[in-house]
Symmetry: C2
Amino acid sequence: MRIGELAEQAGMTTKTLRFYEQAQVLPQPARTASGYRDYDETSLARLRFVRAAQGAGLSLAEIRTIITVREDQGPPCGHVTALLDRHAAALDERIAELEATREEVRRLRDRAATLNPAACSEDGVCHVIPTH
Amino acid sequence: MRIGELAEQAGMTTKTLRFYEQAQVLPQPARTASGYRDYDETSLARLRFVRAAQGAGLSLAEIRTIITVREDQGPPCGHVTALLDRHAAALDERIAELEATREEVRRLRDRAATLNPAACSEDGVCHVIPTH
DNA sequence: GTAAACGTTCCACCGCACGGCAAGGTCAAG
DNA sequence: CTTGACCTTGCCGTGCGGTGGAACGTTTAC
């Protein structure tokens, strides 16, 4: 199977496939006599796995560790479980940060609605955003 | 006032100040005869404003637009209000995305707890992450 | 006079997941 | 034989907010 064909089936570009190969989330395929990449049927399954893992917010580096663990030690369930736990915690933290920022933005928005533009002092940039 | 002094008072590095100048959120200061930057008292207020605006999640590019509007048209209240509204909407969207990802991660985590590692098929990478 | 502690410019790099383009090789159809 | 569609490698650019280092000039203290 040629690269363009696989890319089409996976809904990705050939660029992405070559990038995944370099990122070691897609194994180096066989080559034809003239140097063309020649993929087997397992490649599409691998690409689907990568996409599913990305859907869970995993980076290519993290996906690579799962693949490496699998190749070295068999089913990577323990590794994946720990990875997912860490990810859930990181997401909690990130969401909390964004929610705090959202609250700050809303506070400022309300402030903007009550302040008089004419009262904006000369020497600041904007009295809606307090500097302390 | 020299750059190191201002940096210390603002709790930033000299690198950051020069970067802000290039990003046009900090005006180009006067120079001494030998070419050293020579800041006035308004600079610290400006840096505090930048930091406060960053705290509300505004990018340097957005902060620059506020400053530009202020310089061109006076108090930028209307501009800032619109900016904050757009930001609140973007934050809502981003938080919703992350929450969806978090749900997906938790679903997978629960799945990992119930699946038998020995049942992991030979030809996939990890049966915890389904490739539907 | 000299050494330390500052200052200057410019260029490169970080993570992340690709996209664009160039210069060339290969393969099938007409 | 030629055209066009495909493939190869390689290197640079993207956005964001800086950080690091090199190579060199200035100021201050002793």
